[in-house]
């Protein structure tokens, strides 16, 4: 697993491509989107759903 943090104001084109309307927003692969900061277990569950 790898991770990039993208500071949205420096990359408005990426923010638009990934439809970032609020932060934090996490995009898992090119699929599942996680809005906000979730508890760890919930976050992992969403990541696993994307990886399934």
């Amino acid at each position: 697993m790898t991770a990039s943090v993208i500071e949205a104001t420096s990359f408005p084109d990426l923010a638009q491509r990934y439809q970032v309307t609020g932060v934090p927003k996490t995009v898992v692969g090119d699929g599942v989107e996680i809005m906000g900061a979730l508890p760890e277990a919930d976050f992992v569950a969403q990541v696993l759903q994307a990886g399934a």
């Binding site: 991770a3 990039s4 500071e7 420096s10 990934y18 898992v28 992992v44």
Partner: protein, 139 residues
């Protein structure tokens, strides 16, 4: 610049690094207004610990390093300890996001991720590479 209190706090956290950490910075010469402030932010963090160093490459010119670190845009920082575990920061690490970068430095420097055993077990079961893109703003 950090306030004296903030600098002391970051310095204390970085003092716990058990191995050196390189901030591999990617810039580009033209069309990157945020590259210089991002480099300056990386330098400010590196100034707080002898174990943190910054090295610079050019996104357009340094093909070998761009391929090695899989960097897509500039400004970018690859946070690399004894191994490169794939942590990247794109943009200016400023405001609260300094915390995110210092977290990454701590992990790269041997601190390990502060995740529960349940999480580590669950992630062990992943059978393919997963990349997370976390969008933030420097609030």
């Amino acid at each position: 610049m950090y306030s004296p209190g903030a600098a002391t706090d970051l310095q204390r956290r970085l003092a716990t690094l058990s191995s050196p950490v390189r901030l591999v910075f990617f810039t580009q010469t033209f069309g990157c207004d945020t590259c210089l402030p991002a480099r300056q932010a990386a330098d400010r963090i590196a100034a707080l610990s002898e174990r943190v160093t910054v090295e610079e490459h050019n996104l357009v010119l340094d093909h070998e390093q761009v391929a090695e670190y899989g960097v897509e845009w500039a400004p970018a920082l690859a946070v690399v300890g004894t191994q490169d575990v794939g942590m990247r920061y794109y943009g200016i690490p400023d405001g609260y996001e300094i915390e995110s970068l210092v977290d990454a430095i701590e992990i790269a420097g041997g601190g390990g991720p502060a995740l529960s055993d349940e999480t580590l077990d669950a992630l062990d079961a992943l059978d393919r590479d997963v990349h997370l893109r976390v969008f933030v703003t420097p609030t």
